[in-house]
């Protein structure tokens, strides 16, 4: 008798368990993200769709080559893969005593020196996302001579441009100051 009652109680609990799992999927797996998408598309359509401009997302770094542009960080171009699916974001995961990292930094630094840029730490290290869209003002200033030589824009004009494009720290103290490379180069293109 007792075991029967217990079995019945467990069956009733099993029913509740399955129903709660299904209910959670309906509420948190469908209703919640749908409602969130609705609110986002209504209130913040630009951000919700990826902060897109005609030239790309201001939140996704792009590869810049040649001395006429400011360069971002030497991230691998993961999201550029075009075999039907986007690539995955992520860092190199190379450890602080990795020979591979030494070699990669050495190569990056040599390339920058060859273009007349004194390498800064950010310009030879890769980011955590692999698509870091930003550099610091110091990283941009290190490239002023190179860009000026190749475009003919006076260095003072470029320094002013860097100052106007610098954002942060937010609230005056959160994190460092930084510059979005895509927006910086778009402004550069307008000057030319």
């Amino acid at each position: 008798m007792l075991t029967d009652r217990r079995t019945l109680a467990v069956i009733s609990q099993l029913r509740s368990a399955v129903l709660l799992a299904v209910g959670a999927i309906l509420l948190f797996g469908l209703a919640y993200p749908f409602a969130g998408t609705g609110v986002s598309q209504l209130l913040f359509p630009h951000q919700a769709n990826g902060s897109l401009t005609a030239r790309g997302s201001t939140l996704v770094g792009q590869p810049w080559t040649g001395p006429q542009w400011f360069h971002g960080r030497p991230d691998p171009d993961n999201p550029l893969r075009l075999d039907g699916a986007p690539g995955a974001s992520g860092g190199t995961n190379l450890g602080p005593r990795s020979r591979q990292l030494v070699a990669a930094v050495r190569a990056g630094a040599a390339k920058l020196r060859g273009m007349g840029v004194q390498p800064t730490a950010d310009l030879v290290t890769t980011s955590g996302s692999g698509i870091d869209p930003d550099i610091t003002p110091q990283d941009a200033l290190a490239q002023v001579a190179m860009v000026s030589r190749s475009t003919g824009i006076p260095e003072s004009r470029l320094r002013r441009l860097i100052r106007t494009m610098t954002v942060g720290p937010e609230l005056g103290f959160l994190g460092p100051s930084y510059i979005d490379v895509l927006q910086l180069n778009s402004a550069l293109a307008r000057i030319r």
């Binding site: 948190f28 913040f44 860092g91 995961n93 450890g95 020979r99 730490a121 030879v124 955590g128 110091q138």
Partner: protein, 563 residues
């Protein structure tokens, strides 16, 4: 200087959350919050649950296990069937059986270990209906167990510890859902994507680059990922991805979200046992370790990266920027990763694998202490209470009195259950790490060579055993060995602690309360905090020191050598 203001703002937000969210949580779990009582009633009717009927600990545990089993099955099924299901704009195929097993266990246990890259593996439906769902329910279950344990202390001569269904539903509806929704909107306002339209192709005429930019329902997953101390992000780079964690503001919001519930629960605890000072003592122990670890790891990361310096770039004004985002810089990145490893969240805004040896040591040891500073939603509080019981027991031995905690005699059964709950994690982690390093299949996963490779393995199994989910992501975890072993590690790390905790709750609730006297060992003063810290550090330190010395310590001491 700037960073001090960041910490000050964070402390202010957490102080408010401690006081007000803590008090709100107490009201929620005692049934005095009723603004969604209509929805609640409907839920109970559908579930066939009588909300007025409480459960003994065994029945509570059975409900929990059955619900977890059902959740596991549904998550697994959704991942396996995603190729046939809608909301899959990239036409992704089913996740493999072993990966689905590992992922389903991972999200069920609040771990959010990810052996996959979200944007190339999971359909939007899987991200939403398989993963985001678990980010709500696993956090609610953790909180429910913590509250059940606190009821064990606050009740006397009682046979029941609450109703699992009611506790879980209330945690979801009254706490997680409203906060996650508002925070989700904030993430999107700052730039996190939130759309069901697929990836977008963009060509930049300036540099000739063509990009396929991944998108998805990200912002509202991000908020519950942090609030629920889950940590599993939409994109592979997790919180480092600018489409997921776009600004310095969202970075700090993330840290505040993942800390707020674990911190607030110490207030809830104090209120439920009738003495806020008791909760403050636990918070002090959590806060001290958290502060020391944040300082230590921040200092370590402010040092130059040795590999970058060896390559000739000696000037590294910020410190180690390899694997970090420019918009966050070194200190804010470190704060995020420390907070997420010490809360069982495991989200990252910078790559732990590329941290300096001592920075990585800071993250790894934060997890090894058992995720109690302040730990995950609920799991932090209940695990810390296990340590508190052991501290009281040791204190009792030292002064030769029967130990008591919060008016309850701590006897053999309680000490056994607490020891079991505290030791199950280190035993599982070390045994599986031993197996992994002994087997070629385990060693093959390491990406970096030398001691750093060992750290990758140790970090992975520590992370999963603690239901954290943070990764030295170089490790290739999507193999039969790591999918299987990791799944076991996570299950034991979760239920091997939860079930003893529930048994303890039952044992404590049944005891009569003994009024405190002058001879009672105080558990709300500095002496107790120091004793508790000693127990935590000695248990964690002694168990893991040998393993640590083969990983980060060896790496730190091998000056000038590269692997």
């Amino acid at each position: 200087m700037h960073f001090a203001l960041t910490l000050l703002l964070l402390a202010a937000v957490l102080a408010l959350s401690w006081r007000y969210l803590g008090s709100y949580l107490e009201a929620v779990y005692s049934g005095r919050v009723r603004w969604l009582s209509g929805a609640e009633r409907v839920a109970y009717r559908l579930l066939g649950v009588d909300p007025g009927r409480e459960q003994r600990w065994r029945e509570y545990a059975v409900s929990l296990v059955l619900f977890s089993g059902a959740s596991l099955l549904f998550t697994y099924a959704l991942l396996r069937l995603q190729g046939q299901l809608p909301l899959n704009p990239q036409h992704l195929r089913a996740a493999s059986p072993l990966l689905s097993w590992n992922t389903a266990v991972s999200f069920l246990t609040n771990t959010n270990w990810q052996n996959y890259a979200g944007e190339t593996t999971m359909s939007y439906l899987s991200q939403m209906a398989a993963l985001t769902v678990q980010q709500f329910t696993s956090a609610a279950v953790g909180m429910a167990v913590a509250i059940a344990l606190v009821r064990g202390f606050s009740r006397a001569g009682a046979s029941t510890i609450g109703n699992f269904w009611v506790d879980t539903v209330r945690g979801c509806l009254y706490v997680l859902l409203p906060i996650a929704f508002v925070a989700g909107a904030l993430f999107v306002a700052q730039g996190a994507v939130q759309t069901l339209a697929g990836p977008v192709l963009i060509h930049d005429v300036l540099n000739g680059a063509t990009q396929l930019i991944p998108r998805g329902p990200v912002g509202f997953m991000e908020s519950i990922k942090q609030l629920g101390t889950n940590g599993g992000g939409f994109f592979n780079a997790n919180g480092a991805d600018p489409l997921e964690n776009p600004t310095q503001l969202t970075n700090l919001l993330s840290v505040a979200l993942l800390l707020c519930i674990p911190v607030a629960l110490t207030y809830t605890f104090g209120k439920m046992v009738g003495s806020r000072r008791q909760g403050l003592a636990l918070l002090a122990a959590m806060g001290l370790i958290f502060a020391v670890w944040t300082g230590f790891t921040g200092y370590a990361e402010s040092q130059p990266n040795p590999a970058v310096a060896a390559a000739g770039v000696v000037a590294q004004p910020q410190g180690n920027m390899e694997g970090k985002e420019v918009r966050f810089g070194v200190l804010d990145s470190t704060l995020y990763d420390v907070a997420s490893t010490q809360t069982s969240t495991g989200s990252v805004d910078s790559t732990p694998d590329s941290y300096t040896p001592m920075g990585g040591f800071g993250l790894l040891t934060g997890m090894m202490l058992g995720e109690i500073t302040p730990g995950g939603d609920g799991s932090g509080l209940y695990t810390l209470l296990l340590f508190a019981i052991i501290a009281v027991f040791i204190g009792g031995l030292m002064v030769g009195r029967t130990p008591e905690y919060l008016g309850k005699k701590i006897q053999a059964r309680e000490v056994k259950l607490a020891s079991l709950g505290v030791l199950v994690m280190p035993v599982t982690v070390l045994v599986i790490t031993g197996i992994a390093t002994a087997l070629p299949a385990g060693r093959a996963g390491a990406f970096n060579s030398g001691p750093h490779g060992f750290t990758e393995i140790l970090y992975a199994l520590t992370s999963q055993g603690n239901n954290n989910g943070s990764a030295f992501a170089g490790l290739n975890g999507n193999t039969a060995f790591y999918n299987l072993a990791g799944g076991v590690d996570m299950l034991v790390g979760r239920f091997g602690v939860m079930l003893p905790v529930l048994a303890l709750a039952g044992a404590l609730a049944g005891k009569q309360a003994i009024p405190g006297s002058l001879g009672t060992f105080r558990t709300d003063n500095a002496t107790f905090v120091v004793l508790l810290l000693g127990v935590i550090l000695i248990v964690g330190g002694l168990t893991f020191f040998p393993a640590l010395s083969l990983g980060p310590l060896l790496e730190q001491l091998s000056h000038g050598r590269f692997f």
